[in-house]
Symmetry: C2
Subunit: 314 residues, 2 copies
């Protein structure tokens, strides 16, 4: 097995050159970001950390090592989309058990690097240590003119969704059952879970008009409830609008409950925004009014649906 320094050297080659605003990356005590190199309209930095732990967020038999790296990066990057920010750079801390060797680590790094590159950013540093389980903590720094919090939704605002909900959760169900996931009809759902995409461009586009914004990591019902409670509004969801055609097809084929998955399934990383007006092409899935809670069909309250990492296993 390679030493810590040999491993860092090989990861450095995989991660490549740092983005323009980062003047020093891997190989010193910390990354350096030149404030003068940030885009002129950037008034704020947005900063987040997210963890991906084997046995909690994924099982090794459900995906490849590159998928592990890709997912860990996208899950963290999605918080920037929620705030309408674009990434400046990424740091990650990886704890490696003895049975994850150099080849697996490099595959994880390739997945991270590919995900970062697809968001026009790069990994600029990190930390490697041993651990009894594989865990990847990823922190991203982003820039934006105006960060969009959860607190600004107003009665009368419309609810806009960018990206599918429930599809990744359908993929997990198929992987858990371990019988259908190789069938062609399952691939959209399984791929949605293995290779999620942080919707940075949607976040920035919607953020320009949004009164509140969030990403869907714990499930639409639960994440909408964060906007409802932070903004002190009631949110009504349109059951027909939130079930996308891909979700409908896979659920029909394999006997899953599409509406339940659309409401409670996490890890799709769609972006949910509230706004007084709707940009062309946007998908409206509900509206805000005076009151509290998240409701479907006008009479069913659904705030409590969703995922709590302390309560459920993947």
């Amino acid at each position: 097995m390679a030493s810590e320094f040999e491993r860092i050297s090989s990861l450095n080659a995989i991660f490549g050159a740092p983005p323009a605003a980062v003047s020093l990356g891997i190989g010193d005590d910390a990354a350096i970001i030149d404030l003068g190199a940030l885009e002129p309209h950037a008034g704020h930095l947005v900063w987040t950390i997210d963890a991906c732990v084997e046995g909690v967020h994924f099982r090794r038999e459900w995906l490849g090592w590159e998928d592990v790296g890709w997912r860990s990066l996208m899950a963290a990057a999605s918080d920037l989309a929620a705030m309408a920010a674009t990434p400046i750079g990424v740091l990650c801390a990886v704890a490696l058990p003895d049975d994850v060797g150099d080849e697996a680590l490099e595959a994880i790094a390739r997945g991270q690097a590919a995900a970062a590159a697809s968001l026009s950013t790069a990994i600029v540093g990190g930390n490697l240590s041993r651990g009894s389980e594989l865990s990847i903590s990823t922190t991203l720094l982003g820039a934006c003119g105006r960060a969009v919090p959860r607190t600004g939704a107003q009665p009368g605002d419309l609810l806009i969704l960018a990206g599918p909900v429930g599809l990744a959760a359908a993929g997990v169900r198929l992987l858990q059952q371990a019988v259908h996931h190789d069938e062609p009809d399952a691939s959209a759902a399984v791929q949605a879970w293995r290779r999620p995409i942080a919707r940075i461009a949607d976040g920035v586009r919607l953020g320009a008009i949004a009164t509140a914004q969030i990403d869907i990591s714990d499930g639409l019902a639960q994440d909408a409830s964060h906007i409802a409670s932070a903004s002190r509004v009631r949110i009504d969801l349109d059951a027909d609008a939130i079930v996308g055609s891909e979700l409908r097809a896979v659920c029909d084929r394999f006997g899953l409950d599409a509406l339940q998955l659309a409401l409670s399934g996490g890890e799709d990383y769609a972006v949910l925004a509230t706004a007084a007006s709707v940009p062309e092409g946007a998908m409206v899935i509900g509206r805000c009014s005076a009151g509290e809670g998240v409701w479907v069909g006008g009479a069913t309250r659904v705030d409590q649906l969703g995922h709590d990492h302390f309560r459920g296993k993947p």
Copy 2:
């Protein structure tokens, strides 16, 4: 056991109000930093992540939960001292095994909060998940006028050390032996390991004149070798100067090798700088010349001494 959201609420109370430059902290998707609120002389951001994993970086029986929180934060903050930066804020991702309950988590948070407050900063967000082992990943963002890398040391520069080296490693030896660590003569060493201090003020003060700078996390010999190789110089250390009086006393009392600990003992988080001139009161421990490697007594090369988390257990 409390839910994820109940836990975050109680942690929020422990972590308190965010620093001035942070306009939104715990409770949204990400922390927001107002670039206009940074100090006028700040031209660069410095950004680091560090992990603290049970069984790798500490054993539960060696320290209290507040110490675990304190150490994890200081170890990460020390990288800012290395770069001559002052902290803007802190994020942490904590993975909790089932046998670490709410009281333990809150004690860890109190230790983190106390460490952050002592550095005039605060924890402004993070992530909680389950895990089979306790791990804390900590990321800090700092600001500085000029970040000091490892690459600028010149032949003729003097080596300046701020803080003790070897004392924390002596503390670990006493804790490992589990026989002496409660004796009064052992307390300076045990405390150096349980409650290290990131030397932010020293880092900034030395950084104003330093040609290269680093913090001592893996041992003086190994961290000095990073400067030597990055700057392409030879470094000669003065054996008498690097063994401090506290280290000498505890080693004499308990039969430990003071010079070996001073050279290879990590986790004291002293700051090592190279500079052409020496500020008043600074401790000179060696000098740079043309050549390569780190040497003691002119004839013994010591680069290879030190700690590799993949090779050794704590």
